[in-house]
Symmetry: C2
Subunit: 312 residues, 2 copies
C-alpha cells in the first residue's frame, strides 16, 4: 500500500470579495439568529464578473505551487469538476490546460457533478490513474453559482459562495482513499436545478441529506470495517450549519470532530470538502485526522463518501 | 484476463427524421461531388424538438434491452458523455437514472467531452468499475448538436447528426480494452466552440486531425506491442469522409479496414464509434475484428485511442 497514489497536496482560491448576509437582513426578512445559527453563513464569497470558472482553477493552482514543487511536464491528467463551465463546449479542462501550459500528452475532461463532486472526482481520477499507471494528476473543483443564481432568491443567494480548489494526486500521498460509496436518486432531479436561473427546494434537499447521509455514513464505515468512534474527523459537504448540526445529532457524533467552516465564504459546492481538508494536510496532535470520513451530497440527487487514511 | 470487464453489448438510437444535403445544394452552393466525396454525408439525422438528450439515451437503452437480458437492479454505474446536457445542473445521468428507474445505489455522473468522448468514457467507466469491483455499468453517449447549431451555418449544419448510444460494460465481454492513449491541445479550444451558437473552424480541425491522429495511432500501437498490419479494423471518429480518406492515406491503411458509415446520419460526435462498433459485435469471418483500433478526436482539442481485443 505504500506506493498507492492519493492526495499529496491541495491548493485553494476563495475570492476576496464578500456579500454580507447581515447587510441583507431587511431585504430577506431574516434576523441574526437565522444567519449565525440556522444557515451559519455570515457572508458569501463572490468572484469578479469577468473571472471565469477556469480562472478559479488557475488561481487555486497558483496557491498549490506556492506550497508544492511541481514539474508541470509530469502532470498526466487534469480533470475539472463543474456544472458551471466557461462554455458547454469545449470542456473547461481544455481552457485550464491552455492557461497552465500543460503538455500535449495530458488526458483532460470535465465531470458534471455538484456537491458530491469532490468525492466522486477523487475516485474517478485515482481509478483512472491506477488503470493507466499515471503518477501525477490534478483534480480541480470550481462551481461558481453566482453565475446562475438570482441575487434576490433567498433560498440560494444567502448560501452559495464562489471558490475553486485543486487537489494534487500522486505517490507518497498524505491521504490514501479507502472504499467508497455512491448513490443517486434521479427522482429528485428537479429539487436543485438550473432552468433559467438556479432553483432550490431547500426543505427537500435538507430532508434528503438528513435521511440519506446517516445511512451512507453507516455504509461507508461498514465497507471499511470501521466504527464511527474510530474516525477522527468527519468532513461533510457544507450545505449549511443546520444540516451539519442535524447530521451530528442524528449520527451521534462528537461535534468537535465535525468542522463547520463555511461561515465566511458560503457553500462552495464541490470545493467545500477540499477547502477544509487543506487545513488538515499537516498532522497535528490537537486535531487528529488519521482517519477522515468525507461525504458530499446534493444536486442530482447524488451522494458519495469515502475514508481518507493518513499516510504521512 | 478472462474475467476482465469490457464491452458486452451496445444499443443505439438514430432518429428517423433526416435533413438531406442534396436539398440544400443551392442554399450552400455545393455540388454532388462535395456531398458524396468530400464530406461524404448525404443526410443528417435530426431529433424531434422536444426530444431531450436524456431521451436519446433512453431510446438507445430500449434498443439494448431488445438484444440483451439485463437485470436493472444489477447496474452499478451509469455515465453520460455529453456537452449538450438537458440542463447544466443536474447532470443528465440523473435524468437518465430517473427515466430508466435505476436503483439508489447506482453511481452516476456526466463526462463533458465531444468527439473523443467514447474512448475516454470507456476508459473512465472501466477503471472506475475495476477500482470498485463493479460488474455491470452503462456508458451513454448522446450529444445532439442540432440543439446548438445554426441551420444556416455551412461548416456545421451539413455535418452533424443527432444520435445516442449505450454501451453495456461487464464480465464475459465481447471486447476487452488494451492500453490507451490520451491527449489535449488546450491552445485550440476556440476552434470548435459554442458561445452563442456552434462555431467550427473546419480547416483547423481537419489539420489537427490529419497531423495528430497518425501520430497517436503509432503511439497506441506501440503501447500495445502491435503493428498496424496486425489490426483488423480501424474505427475512426466519423468527422467527414475526407478526414477518414486522409487518415487512410497518411497512415497507409487498407481502406477495406476503415469503415466510413456516417453517409446517412452524419457526424454524431461521441456516438460515432459505438454506432459502428455495434455492427461488429457478432464475429464474422468476412469482416474480422479480432483486434480493433478505435480513435476519437475533436473539440478541446482532444483525442484518445485504444485497442479492443475480441474475447468471444
Amino acid at each position: 500500500m505504500e506506493n498507492k497514489i492519493g492526495i499529496v497536496n491541495i491548493g485553494t482560491y476563495i475570492p476576496d470579495a464578500r456579500v454580507s448576509n447581515f447587510d441583507r437582513k431587511e431585504e430577506f426578512e431574516i434576523d441574526d439568529t437565522f444567519i449565525t445559527e440556522k444557515i451559519g453563513i455570515r457572508s458569501v464569497a463572490r468572484k469578479a464578473k469577468d473571472e471565469e470558472t477556469s480562472d478559479l482553477c488557475v488561481k487555486a493552482f497558483q496557491n498549490l505551487v506556492e506550497k508544492q514543487d511541481l514539474n508541470l511536464e509530469e502532470v498526466e491528467v487534469a480533470i475539472v469538476v463543474t456544472q458551471n463551465p466557461d462554455y458547454n463546449l469545449p470542456h473547461t479542462a481544455s481552457l485550464v490546460h491552455k492557461k497552465l501550459g500543460l503538455s500535449e500528452h495530458v488526458a483532460s475532461f470535465d465531470i458534471s457533478l455538484g456537491c458530491s463532486g469532490f468525492v466522486y472526482g477523487l475516485s474517478v481520477i485515482e481509478s483512472f490513474m491506477n488503470q493507466h499507471g499515471m503518477k501525477k494528476g490534478l483534480l480541480f473543483t470550481a462551481d461558481p453559482y453566482s453565475k446562475i443564481l438570482n441575487p434576490k432568491d433567498k433560498n440560494t443567494s444567502l448560501l452559495f459562495g464562489d471558490a475553486g480548489a485543486v487537489t494534487l494526486i500522486g505517490e507518497k500521498p498524505v491521504f490514501r482513499s479507502g472504499n467508497s460509496t455512491f448513490g443517486t436518486i434521479g427522482e429528485g432531479y428537479g429539487e436543485l436545478i438550473c432552468t433559467e436561473d438556479l432553483y432550490m427546494n431547500g426543505r427537500s434537499i435538507f430532508n434528503f441529506a438528513a435521511r440519506y447521509v446517516p445511512k451512507d455514513v453507516e455504509k461507508v464505515l461498514s465497507k471499511n470495517n470501521l466504527t464511527k468512534e474510530e474516525i477522527d474527523l468527519f468532513i461533510f459537504h457544507q450545505g449549511s450549519k443546520y444540516i451539519c448540526d442535524t447530521l451530528i445529532r442524528r449520527i451521534g457524533l462528537d461535534e468537535s470532530k465535525v468542522p463547520f467552516d463555511a461561515a465566511n465564504y458560503g457553500n462552495t459546492v464541490s470545493s467545500s470538502i477540499p477547502i477544509i481538508l487543506e487545513k488538515y494536510l499537516e498532522d497535528s496532535k490537537e486535531t487528529p485526522s488519521d482517519k477522515t470520513l468525507i461525504c458530499g451530497f446534493g444536486v442530482g440527487l447524488s451522494w458519495a463518501s469515502t475514508i481518507l487514511h493518513r499516510n504521512y
